[in-house]
């Protein structure tokens, strides 16, 4: 009998062991080059492209094809000739590749130039397909019509200007979790999986480079960008590893409050993860904006956003500087409030108020009882709490048999705040500070 059992066990064990042990990551080190391409068609309008190329000695044709323009080639024994770019030119086999050059001496065709070290275009005597490119080279494609005396010559655009936004890539950025993340090129398909980074990135890189934002971003109760999402491809992201792997994004922004176990699987799948960790202070927010600027190659824009934030804060503080400090209670349904160490406390302080919860030193996230609130006797009460689902927080607060007795209620100094401005961890936090300042010192903002 035991032998039969043992047999069964062996089968079970084998079934488990046979399952392959681990996955090998397919990640060969790739070295590539970066080149600029200038294309000027029949309309005389030059287009520039910054192209990253990999593989064995890429040539001018590879770079041209990589621009994404529609290119028609004719490949012969001497290499490839370019017949048509983006609709300008000839289309074999219906016509010859140089269809406009049959007969006359002056004619129109796609002429290939290379930007020389002297900074001038040099007509390339050799076909683009037999000319290997070096890192930093600039190629020019000019639909040159020799018969047209008014033809626009090909403008000289140096490499740094074409690939300027990309300089410094690949770069290694230390993310919020102290992980060193190497980013090969400025990410063009960014998946944002936290509301804070949704708000920052939309302003930093615009909708074109955002592959998707969280489902929170469309909820105007908590999001400051709900109205700006029309051009964003997806607005339904969340921290699911399968979803984030199949997105095939070139950068995924996560935060420490997404599911941590999923991170492991995403790293196994070589998903380029960039994480933000701290969100509690305005300095954390500034830091996150700058981190995202570094990760996306938009450092300058990040500094601008931070500067705009600071200018607005300076303005608010200048307005409230001479006011007599007001004592404030920030209250959410159920008695939730915020003390020292919380973002709300910092916002109240920046708005020139005194947080009664911080005064009493109750910790960062205390639950208050009615007795404390009565004795604290704040001058102003701010009501928040989007997650409570309370339709009329003002009525429930003033209708409370105890809280309704407060001096602030009597004096009509009780305000319902815009939660999207209060709970945000992006540059929009200054809107929250301003909201509070306006509630505390209406006179400072009059006129």
């Amino acid at each position: 009998m035991r032998w039969i059992v043992l047999l069964g066990i062996v089968v079970f064990v084998m079934a488990l062991v046979v399952v392959p042990v681990g996955v090998t990551a397919q990640n060969s080190a790739q070295t590539g080059i970066q080149v600029g391409v200038v294309v000027q068609g029949a309309d005389g309008q030059p287009q520039t492209f910054c192209i990253s190329l990999e593989g064995e000695s890429p040539n001018g044709i590879d770079a041209l094809v990589a621009t994404g323009l529609d290119v028609v080639l004719e490949t012969g024994s001497l290499g490839s000739a370019v017949c048509n770019i983006a609709g300008d030119g000839c289309t074999p086999p219906g016509e010859s590749c140089f269809c406009q050059c049959e007969g006359g001496e002056e004619c129109a065709y796609w002429a290939y130039f290379r930007l020389g070290e002297s900074g001038n275009w040099q007509y390339s005597p050799v076909g683009a397909s037999s000319y290997p490119l070096a890192d930093g080279a600039v190629d020019g494609w000019w639909w040159r019509d020799g018969s047209d005396p008014d033809t626009q010559s090909l403008p000289v655009v140096p490499f740094d200007e074409i690939c300027g936004a990309q300089s410094g890539f690949p770069r290694t950025v230390t993310d919020g979790l102290e992980r060193e993340v190497t980013i090969e090129a400025p990410p063009q398909r960014i998946a944002s999986v936290t509301l804070g980074s949704d708000e920052i990135l939309l302003e930093l890189v615009g909708p074109g480079r955002l592959l998707g934002v969280t489902h929170f971003a469309g909820d105007s109760d908590i999001s400051n960008i709900a109205e700006q999402l029309d051009d964003v491809l997806r607005t339904d992201l969340y921290g699911d590893p399968e979803l984030l792997i199949t997105l095939d994004a070139d950068l995924v922004i996560l935060s420490s409050y997404n599911n941590p176990a999923a991170l492991d699987q995403m790293l196994d799948a070589d998903v380029p993860v960039f994480a933000l960790a701290e969100f509690n202070t305005l300095d954390d927010i500034r830091n996150n904006i700058r981190l995202l600027g570094l990760a996306t190659g938009e450092e300058a824009r990040a500094e601008e956003i931070v500067a705009e934030m600071d200018a607005r804060l300076d303005d608010i503080q200048a307005r409230v500087a001479d006011q007599n400090p007001v004592r404030v209670l920030y209250y959410e349904p159920g008695g939730i409030s915020y003390g020292a160490g919380s973002t709300i406390d910092e916002m109240i302080t920046l708005a020139g108020g005194i947080n009664v919860v911080a005064e009493a030193d109750l910790g960062a996230y205390p639950m208050l009882d009615a007795e404390f609130i009565l004795f604290a006797d704040p001058d102003v009460v701010l009501l928040g709490g989007w997650f409570s689902g309370d339709d009329d927080p003002l009525a429930s607060f003033t209708g409370d048999p105890v809280l309704g007795l407060l001096r602030a209620v009597e004096n009509d100094r009780i305000y319902v705040v815009n939660d999207a401005h209060m709970s945000t961890v992006s540059q929009y936090i200054v809107l929250g500070v301003e909201d509070i300042a306006r509630a505390l010192y209406p006179n400072a903002f009059a006129g």
């Binding site: 039969i4 043992l6 069964g8 079970f12 042990v21 590893p241 399968e242």
Partner: protein, 378 residues
């Protein structure tokens, strides 16, 4: 060995189990074959479901390629990665944990001769839960988990399973010591101590949760408390499989002794079973197995209780058939529950522990009601 002695319950209760008249060996073969087919179907179903739409042929090709057959699938493609790094380990983990919980449940029920016994009864689940709650609320475990450095296996990933395992084993040991009576286990004392410890640990967990300030921590803990397979990758599976498989192998060797224990301690002793030793070994094995399972996926309820009972109603109480059947049946049950948990409110996921209770519960009640005359299993 005579079959009448080894399978006492059949003769005692004169109940009519399906397959009762079939001999043990053919019964084992038939039952295991049927359950194995069920497991295969469940796994196929579960692996074809996910948060994203991946065409079934692509899933099948990715799996075949992963198994070593060249199907021309690009192994760096997102589809291949999603199937082999997210879906497959989740399904394998479900099978492993389901097998462990059901088998441990069957052993506990036989050991204590108590139909209500499940792996949680000696405080294993509660101990593991306390370990996890402590790790999450009292340390920086979650933050640390995120503070990972580039590398294949991150030690931070192991903090929660390790604290859970330590908690599980400590509480099982406490219950065991409390139940010792002149060097022998007093079963009644063991069950009572287990129940009391469950309450005490539950109270501590509630205090810690209510005092935790951070909603993220509370959500993480809750998701773990009901049991969740999300994010359980190969790393976890390859560690969890060893204690579970080792315990399983040893446990199955004691199937005959469990049958003898079922006819009473004295009788078993008279028939040559070293009752205290067998009991201690089986208890320890069940604890290790359960602790390993719940440490990785959380306190998934109902599998350990329901699967053995369901099977007993069909195939009878003979542990030589019941234990292997519970292994495969438990695996199939949890894999199926996992599939349902991921499809029922797609694209979001329900925690698998909720599905085991919601789906398993009513089904079990129906089975109980239809077979209420045959329930006298022990």
């Amino acid at each position: 060995m005579s079959s009448a002695v080894i399978s006492p319950a059949e003769t005692q209760t004169r109940s009519v189990f399906l397959l009762m008249k079939v001999g043990v060996v053919p019964r084992l073969v038939i039952v295991c074959a049927v359950l194995a087919v069920l497991l295969f179907v469940a796994m196929t179903y579960a692996v074809s479901i996910g948060t994203t739409e991946i065409p079934r042929p692509d899933v099948a090709n990715a799996l075949l390629q992963y198994a070593g057959l060249d199907r021309g699938v690009d192994e760096s493609s997102p589809t291949y990665m999603a199937v082999t790094i997210v879906r497959l380990p989740g399904v394998m983990m479900a099978a492993l944990v389901g097998a462990a919980l059901a088998c441990a449940g069957a052993v506990m029920q036989g050991l204590f001769r108590n139909p209500l016994a499940d792996p949680g009864i000696v405080g294993v689940s509660a101990g593991a839960s306390l370990g996890v709650v402590l790790a999450i609320t009292q340390t920086e475990a979650i933050t640390d988990l995120w503070r990972l450095h580039n590398g294949p296996l991150k030690d931070a990933l192991w903090r929660i399973p390790v604290t859970a395992f330590v908690g599980a084993m400590l509480s099982a040991l406490t219950v065991y010591i409390l139940s010792l009576q002149r060097g022998r286990t007093n079963i009644a004392a063991l069950l009572l101590a287990g129940g009391a410890l469950n309450s005490v640990l539950g109270a501590i967990i509630s205090v810690l949760l209510l005092r935790a300030g951070d909603m993220t921590q509370i959500r993480t803990v809750l998701s773990w408390l009901v049991g969740s397979l999300e994010g359980r990758g190969w790393d976890y599976f390859h560690v969890a499989k060893w204690p579970i498989m080792a315990s399983t192998v040893l446990m199955l060797l004691y199937a005959r002794d469990l049958n003898l224990l079922a006819i009473g301690e004295e009788n078993a002793q008279a028939l040559g079973v070293n009752v205290p030793r067998v009991r201690l070994i089986l208890l320890a094995l069940s604890c290790v197995m359960t602790a390993a399972a719940v440490s990785f996926v959380g306190a998934i309820s109902f599998v350990g209780l329901v699967v053995p009972h369901m099977l007993r109603l069909i195939i009878g109480p003979d542990h030589r058939v019941l234990l292997p059947a519970s292994l495969i049946g438990g695996a199939a049950f949890l894999v199926l529950a996992d599939g349902i948990s991921r499809s029922i409110i797609a694209p979001e996921k329900l925690e698998v522990g909720i599905v085991t209770a919601l789906v398993g519960g009513p089904f079990f009640l129906l089975l109980l009601w239809r077979n209420r005359r045959q329930i006298a299993v022990f």
